[in-house]
Amino acid sequence: MSNALLKVKNLHARADGKDILKGLDIEVQPGEVHAIMGPNGSGKSTFGNVIAGRESFEVTEGQIEYLGKDLLELSTEERACEGIFLAFQYPVEIPGVNNTYFLKTALNSIRRYRGEPELDSMEFLKLVKRKLSVLHLKDDLLKRAVNEGFSGGEKKRNEIFQMAVLEPKLAILDETDSGLDIDSLKAVADGVNRLRSEDRAIVVVTHYQRLLEYIVPDRVHVLADGKIVRSGGKELALQLEEQGYGWVQSA
């Protein structure tokens, strides 16, 4: 019995009447950074959505244990309150809702769940300013509506900013590198690296090895047709880059 943060066993899941995950196993310890790589359609995004508890994804078989609890028993917001954070591949716009207000509502909701006192506006603003400076972000981000009119890079940075404020125990970054130019990619990766810590695990889901040059993982897994077909150290990512996914799929 390990004290794994996340333990996924034989996970089967479907969406839109299609089986996508077909027996996925993974175990993540606190403090680790894992990368899940795989070709399009292999089930990468499904993995993140299932862990976060999106209703349109149905778990048909298998177990997910998180902090020793049965994750499948928890609602989406309970999972968030228990410290699970999903950085979205396509962050959602909420027009007219101020970013600061959104985050304060989220943080206080989580604090309430944990029986901690809620932060008032002043305390919250202080916290947020501190996080902004750590991530080298400009504070005009605070005044804007949630993701409304943001560029692709700004949206991804906003996700990392939210992660910094909410301080999750398990963060899943779903194709956080997609659609970013190299400068944005570096900025986002730099932010993520600053959030690495001993009691936080990060799972980076990506198609390309590029992001892993900047966020160096402890473990790399290859996902193909709904299963982890190979796991290894960071060198596995390089091998994939050179030889393509065909190599593991045929293996």
Binding site: E55, S75, E77, F88, P95, T105, A106, I110, A145
Partner: protein, 482 residues
């Protein structure tokens, strides 16, 4: 209708000075509408003969009009002869004695809205001697207004004390035969408010019908007239976020605003009449004619409304931009839930040169609610350089509701610039999931998204009204998701 044309003509010839109405002592007119009933109402209120004539003319015109059916509303037939058009305010003994006798559901809503305890009784129609401190509040309030020269009183008082002013302005914006419901109101109106801001005066406080809450039973056929003389300013708040108890199903109000040169009127409404239950039973039919006349150059009229109540809302607060460089604004949030229907919007009639109008409409539909924006922008031949901008957004919650947009544009002047933008969006599964993934519960997420959607309108509301309006939307949308 019970009266034939020939009879009408015969009646026209009669004088109504004093009562051929015998039962003037009675407190309630028998159901039905005819010239006798109108004469009865007028006599009850001791009105001058010109006003009775005006009522009768409106009534005769009303008889010739069909009930309008162009709105996208499904309205059960209204039997106008089954309604009683006059009842004096309820006596104390007919009212509930205490909050214990009031519908617990209503009290629950007050609780959710955070209405202070001492105000709940008054709103629920409980027999209390005085509405909280309305006597003292009202008195200080009146004294301060008096100092400024502002007239703010009930319509009946105005008829008695300022008959010439009332006669000069009444029906000058909404003519007595303007439309079916306005004609009906003119014929049978019960009471309402009268405001006059004298030349150059900036009204020292927001005027609110709230301070007139003790005048019960005026809601059904209410009539409001606001006159802002040259260079004056006034902000007027109508309504209340608390659902008011009312036994009358049909409401037909008329509001007339007159802004003289350089005057500004800001009129804000929160309408939360009983919307009917979750199966569409009951609820108020709300047919309102609101119109402002920017009569003087450089005048401005601004309408802001938050409409969450009533089973049916038929309402188009409008601006006639007669003065040069005058401007009109319309900011609206209309919410329909369960089986509520709303057909609401505005008319901006540009007649003067360099006139401007701005329209922001936010419609929210949930449950089986149907929500239509209907707006007319009209530019007259002489309205050089008229500018209009309209933004109409609809938000859908759930699969069974509807949103519709009917913009009408008529321009007779080639220099006009008219812009119309419209969007329709759904509170998507993706938005909800995003909020929930951040730890925010579903109901909080919905109210946050709706609040964001309405932000452009809410910021036009006076501060304390905006806070209440936000809360009101939250309560109105309870159970809309999931």
């Amino acid at each position: 209708m019970s009266t034939t044309d020939a009879e009408v003509r015969k009646l026209v010839g009669r004088t109504y000075e004093h009562g051929f109405v015998s039962d003037i002592e009675s407190d309630v007119a028998p159901p039905g509408l005819n010239e006798d009933v109108i004469a009865f109402i007028s006599a009850k209120k001791n009105e001058p003969s010109w006003l009775l004539e005006m009522r009768l003319e409106a009534y005769r015109h009303w008889l010739t009009m069909p009930q309008p059916d162009w709105a996208k509303l499904d309205i059960a037939p209204i039997d106008f002869q089954a309604i009683s058009y006059y009842s004096s305010p309820k006596s104390q003994k007919d009212r509930p004695k205490s909050l214990d006798e009031v519908d617990p559901k209503l009290l629950e809503t007050y609780e959710k809205l955070g209405i202070p305890l001492h105000e709940r009784a008054a709103l629920a129609g409980v027999a209390v001697d005085m509405v909280f401190d309305s006597v003292s509040v009202g008195t200080t309030f009146r004294e301060e207004l008096k100092k400024a020269g502002v007239i703010f009183c009930s319509f009946s008082e105005a008829v008695a004390e300022y008959p010439d002013l009332v006669r000069q302005y009444m029906c000058s914006v909404v003519p007595k035969g303007d439309n079916f419901f306005a004609a009906l109101n003119t014929a049978v109106f019960s009471d309402g408010s009268f405001v006059l801001i004298p030349k150059g005066v900036r009204c020292p406080m927001e005027l609110s019908t709230y301070f007139r809450i003790n005048e019960a039973n005026t809601g059904q056929f209410e009539r409001t007239l606001i006159v802002a003389e040259e260079g004056s300013h006034v902000s007027y708040l109508e309504g209340c976020t608390a659902p008011m108890r009312d036994e009358n199903q049909l409401h037909a109000a008329v509001v007339e605003l007159v802004a003289l040169e350089k005057a500004q009127i800001k009129y804000s409404t929160v309408q939360n009449w009983y919307p009917g239950d979750e199966n569409g039973q009951g609820g108020i039919y709300n047919f309102v004619t609101k119109r402002g006349d920017c009569r003087g150059d450089d005048s401005k009229i601004s309408w802001t409304q938050v409409e969450t109540g009533s089973a049916i809302t038929w309402k188009y607060p409008s601006c006639v931009l007669r003065g040069d460089r005058s401007s009109g604004e319309f900011y609206s949030v209309a919410l329909t839930h369960n089986y509520q229907q709303a057909d609401t919007g505005t008319k901006m009639i540009h007649l003067g040169k360099d006139t401007k109008s701005n329209i922001v409409s936010k419609g929210i539909s949930a449950g089986r609610g149907q929500n239509s924006y209907r707006g007319l922008v009209k530019v007259g031949r002489d309205a050089e350089n008229a500018r209009n901008f309209a933004q109409c957004d609809s938000l859908l919650i759930g699969p069974d509701c509807g949103a519709h947009t009917f913009p009408y544009i008529e321009s007779k002047n080639p220099t006009a610039r008219i812009e119309h933008e419209a969007t329709t969006s759904k509170i998507g599964e993706d938005q909800l999931f995003y909020c929930q993934q951040r730890g925010i519960g579903e109901e909080d997420a919905v109210s946050m998204i709706v609040d964001g959607f309405c932000r452009d309108v809410f910021r036009e509301l006076p501060m304390e009204f905006a806070v209440e309006a936000k809360k009101l939307l939250e309560v109105s949308l309870e159970g809309a998701v999931g």
